[in-house]
Subunit: 551 residues, 2 copies
């Protein structure tokens, strides 16, 4: 379906796998466009072998002029797709210094990405991007320098909350900028796009400060080494670990590349202050007493190759978990990662560690129901589009908007690629663009055919029937060869495979008897005969690949 | 490692995938044995293509005499492995009538299972099984007629809690038999094996009755059809749905085979009473007004082929979800199923249904921390072995035992296959037996090699290099053929595949130049050359299969 262009104000959510508008959004007025965020997703086991899922930015090439890219904050799901976006759209990138620092690393690490023109911004200081006036507004989130973004257009103001929460006691002393949000709301917001991540949770998200208090208790109690794992990008959390460690006379070492990278970038940009003398190289902790050591490590999601998972398995080069160690999971599993995290915790317990996990050592960075309602009340938008969530989260967020008094017809539930248009007192979907996801495995994209084959291979494996035919008379030379992988154990299945050979020969004989010699038809006959036989015998349906050699 | 047999009292947890002692346990005194429970597990995406995971009962064949099999309750993870156990051990099966009814269905459905000799028991009426006196004690759980089991032996009493909770207001008016548990505890229990499922949850599990109140409110409010999904085996829940529907003037239809089966068996055994005239066939609901209809459907875990998932997708033969429908998820996702359940909920919302899910319409059947402590206090065992949970749950359950005053040396953390021996005032692991898991796909078992190949195929697919060689001189006839699946899209990757052909030819030339003609060596050379080339070009590592035809 082609997109329906018009001179009206249009908004298009892009990418995000099962979530809507999570990774990116296009706003346009006539031919003038602005992209807000450019993230990517890390897929779960539903997409075997896929490393990354990036939004399909391809449609932007034909969609007028993109004057700029504005980034709300520095998390992967908001900046990780930037290298791919820049291949389609060479526009300047706007964001706070830390966000740009993290984005720059992504761009530089990704082969074949054009240089990035970065324009640092400050909250409350609007910048002009093409015909738009864009203002960044400070919000609390699990990374410093996160912002909401207000875009003033000739057709009114469009506002993104970005990922946010209201923290009255943030550890950097900078709460979400209530007064500026209130002023912007008072001046009039035409469309609000709001985070839906935590919409299923009642009440308020706890303050980041409560984690500090919990860490303090743990540090006061522990006699051995303390390992803390969290998202590397949660710089406030890292700051709290450094501070608590220093207070309790412990040095802090870093394990895992993402941890080292983020601490380096955040320190350079003054977004992280480390108490003098607290940071030590990982290879020096063996000279210290266990009660002098804290380790900040990656692996909070139980990722198989992460530092903590390798420590638990006894395969980390420098650190092995031992009785007396205390391991703190200062993060909750991302949906889909629960089992991996659980296995890591089991393994840590088996090694004799004490493990602390659960809600008291983590605070979510996303607004819960009462905070979402507060944002709606502060901004009082004319139209409301919930984003950042699966469809059910959007429905729940829409319900909150109705609860605070917005009429249902002024809200809209979108999907990725929907062209949302605001015209007069009406918000509606007016078309669709191709703005789904590109699956990346290794260096390239993976299509649906390849993915379908992988799922088939994963279910029941495959079986190759290799036949050699005399090209002159179509006669079979020798017995067909059968090779299988991921189906049955070949050495233990001699009879089954022998029977397969027989079925192939019979199928070919039937073809010859009917005068069928064309390989496509013979191939089908072999596939059908083997498929039916194997299903009867094993109730499995391996991928069957007949291969022909003509000599 | 061989098992260390002795004349002492031994306990061996068996099966359960990542959980310990979940599916089954052997207790033995000298040569005399009794098996408690015989369940199976449904695996997650970690085990591609695997349908069932059953305990490896094989070791029992060589382990003395098994006098009987005692089943605590009728859930799949406690009875589903019975057909496989009976192939190894032909012993009578003891349980309450509903448990035996459900077990009998499993046995009859499974090809090649010997007949089952069922011996119905009643709580508080001990039965003799070999040298053991076995008493079943009524407990509350999410299925009727669930029991704890006390086994009196010459070496003392061993007690299994089974899956249980303490419900003071159960809907059948039969709370867990406190007084009998107290009496048994008072008489002395040598070893207690206790459920650890909900050990991470503080407080008490809510009563089943609170779900009835929540359902009543939903039925009072809804104007359209109401669909309720839950575990079919949760017969008390089904009873509450039937009763609430009747009170609100709705008929109930059943969707999904497990739902129909369970209602049939439970009704026959008087474990379920359906108000007269309430149950109607599914194909007759179209004659009723939406506000007269309730549907009890399978699919509470978002299973792709379940009735509810098909209704949501619009592919169910008789029911399609429409605006006005209310769908109630009266179950929580089993860990690992969260994403599937979420997708079903999204799809239901997209079809316009109202969806109600979350804690208010479900009550867990497993004891939380305070209930676990209560059980420990009632039984006051000499030794404590936490079971039914992953390792971390066992650790947490052990901690509860220490909290109520048990010395640590009287507790033991086991793994499946560990031979636990109680001797004097000591509990210890004295050996190991092979009591892991058998993976079942279709009709047969799947070994580690097959599973490893499936995972490899799922990650990056495969590539076949087919070479035809002149058997007389080892010369390559024609160009090698390259076939791939699940790796790259073949039609779009002509250059890559052409380059593969070249690499194969070069590898073979190098072999010939070195005088290497043995196929094993040539094969390795082809694999290495292709593997290295493909990783450089794509950063993927497909399974590479060189195939040889000699003519």
């Amino acid at each position: 379906m082609p997109s329906k262009r018009s001179d009206g104000l249009q908004i298009i959510p892009i990418g995000g796998l099962g979530e809507i508008g999570k990774n990116s959004t296009l706003i346009r007025l006539g031919r003038d466009g602005l992209v807000v965020d450019a993230g990517l997703m890390f897929p779960d086991e539903e997409l075997p072998g896929i490393d990354l899922v990036i939004p399909d930015f391809g449609f932007l090439a034909a969609e007028g002029v993109v004057h700029g890219i504005a980034l709300t904050h520095g998390h992967e799901d908001h900046i990780g797709g930037l290298p791919y976006l820049l291949r389609t759209v060479q526009a300047p990138v706007f964001g706070t210094p830390l966000t740009l620092g993290l984005a720059r690393r992504r761009v530089e690490e990704t082969q074949g990405t054009p240089a990035m023109k970065a324009v640092p911004v400050r909250p409350r200081r609007p910048v002009r991007i093409g015909p738009f006036e864009v203002e960044f507004v400070h919000v609390n989130h699990s990374i410093p320098q996160a912002c909401a973004i207000a875009v003033r257009t000739a057709a009114g103001t469009v506002m993104w909350t970005g990922d946010f929460k209201f923290d009255q006691t943030p550890i950097d002393g900078e709460p979400t900028d209530f007064s500026r949000l209130a002023e912007i709301g008072e001046a009039g917001v035409r469309v609000l796009l709001m985070d839906s991540t935590n919409v299923e949770r009642p009440g308020y998200a706890p303050s980041e400060r409560v984690v500090g208090a919990a860490l303090d208790q743990i540090f006061a109690r522990a006699h051995g080494r303390i390992l803390v794992t969290t998202f590397a990008s949660n710089v406030h959390r890292l700051a709290q670990v450094f501070r608590t460690a220093a207070q309790h006379g412990r040095k802090v070492a870093l394990a895992g590349r993402s941890m080292v990278d983020t601490v380096t970038i955040a320190s350079e940009l003054k977004a992280l202050t480390i108490p003098r003398g607290t940071l030590v190289p990982l290879d020096q902790i063996r000279r210290l007493q266990p009660r002098q050591v804290a380790i900040l490590t990656s692996g909070s999601q139980g990722e198989p190759l992460s530092a903590l998972t390798r420590m638990a398995a006894g395969t980390h080069r420098m650190v092995t978990i031992a009785a007396g160690d205390t391991v703190v999971f200062s993060a909750t599993p991302i949906p889909g990662n629960e089992a991996m995290v659980g296995r890591t915790i089991n393994q840590l317990y088996r090694q004799g560690a004490e493990v602390i996990y659960g809600s008291e050592v983590h605070a979510s960075g996303h607004a819960c129901q009462e905070e979402l309602k507060l944002m709606l009340t502060l901004i009082r938008p004319t139209f409301f589009v919930p984003v950042h969530g699966e469809y059910r989260h959007l429905v729940r967020n829409q319900q909150l908007a109705l609860d605070v008094g917005l009429p249902k017809e002024r809200t809209l539930l979108a999907e990725n690629g929907h062209v949302i248009e605001v015209q007069g007192n009406r918000i509606a979907r007016v078309g669709t663009v191709e703005a789904g996801n590109v699956l990346v495995d290794g260096l390239g994209g993976v299509g649906q055919v390849v993915l379908r084959d992988r799922k088939h291979l994963a279910q029941d494996g495959m079986l190759i029937a290799l036949v050699t035919m005399d090209r002159r008379n179509g006669e079979l030379l020798g017995a067909p060869d059968i090779v299988s992988r991921g189906f049955v154990h070949m050495r233990e299945s001699g009879d089954l495979l022998e029977e397969c050979r027989k079925r192939v020969r019979e199928a070919m004989d039937r073809c010859r008897a009917r005068g069928t010699t064309e390989w496509g038809a013979v191939r089908s006959a072999i596939k059908d005969a083997l498929g039916q036989f194997l299903f009867e015998k094993t109730h499995r349906q391996p991928m069957i690949l007949p291969l022909l050699v003509e000599v």
